[in-house]
Symmetry: C2
Subunit: 209 residues, 2 copies
Amino acid sequence: MPKNAKISNAVIRRLPRYRRYLKELEKAGIDKISSNEFSKLTGFTASQIRQDLNNFGGFGQQGYGYNVSDLHREISSILGLDREYGMVVVGAGNLGSAIAGHAAYDRSGFPVKGVFDIDPARIGKKVRNNRVLPTSSLGEFVRKNKIDIGIICTTGDAAQEIVDTLCEAGVRGVWNFTMADISVPEGIALENVYLSDSLHSLVYHINQE
Amino acid sequence: MPKNAKISNAVIRRLPRYRRYLKELEKAGIDKISSNEFSKLTGFTASQIRQDLNNFGGFGQQGYGYNVSDLHREISSILGLDREYGMVVVGAGNLGSAIAGHAAYDRSGFPVKGVFDIDPARIGKKVRNNRVLPTSSLGEFVRKNKIDIGIICTTGDAAQEIVDTLCEAGVRGVWNFTMADISVPEGIALENVYLSDSLHSLVYHINQE
């Protein structure tokens, strides 16, 4: 896949959604879908979808619509979901355990290879397939096991130091669940899940309804 | 606050971010910030920020910038964060426990008033201040306690039925953490946190770096 530097983040954020619906359609045994039907399903306009997919060459056919499994495969490949990404979870509290214990990640190419915590009471406990390891061993583990993604489920004030350790040890991306405003070196991807932003946006819509 | 029907979702999604940075600035004792500094801090262009805030009347002053605490208060009020929202969490697994156990929600006007599960092994257990209640009592609880927000941390296939119960019982908003594509009646707000979309977007960026 070539680098698509000009593609906006908004487009990239819609691709996983398109893929999610395509996956459901494929599971339901549906071979093709018209752009209007796909628009209704996803809630995006047909022209928006067409425009988004045109960034990558376009996949629809006039008068036919989309071939479900082809488009599913293409979007998976654009996103890079056709290979595996080893992950570690740092912070084995409720949230970290929820993420690390999510069996679906294994099936979908995101095996959790290690879970870490600084709390001696948590170290050694089992979180699904993993025994919790001490955070002091994080850097070495990431290097040895060629980990791609580090997931931060610690407290906010511990986050930056852990991210530094992960980045030095060679992860390619950081998935941040803390409220901390962390930074990563150039060349490393960062995705923040600011849950309170999501809650605040819900509240705004509550007050508009 | 009047209804702002024309304001795009993209603007609404940026407001909580602006607010988050303003809160930090206020905590740090900073009174005012130039639009350029605020742009650097948030990562949005100064003109983007100005344009966003102009939707609500605009708050900056030429040659002065923004008054931090005024803008913080104004954005909080636009979002509706100047009052309290009672919440229930349905599903007391790791994720539900993480959300329900987050002490910060109480302080910030989002008290978790009830936690529910169908699993007898979980009912009666304590999640922070709450004993887990049976999901069968959810509707009555929501009605009696005038709950505003229902948080769905169950499995995907249980989600729609629980959302129906919540909506009939009078919640004003649903915060969905399952992968299910749920629907709510008109007049009720819905915010989906599709964590796998976030992970897939991270993976895309990993492959572009």
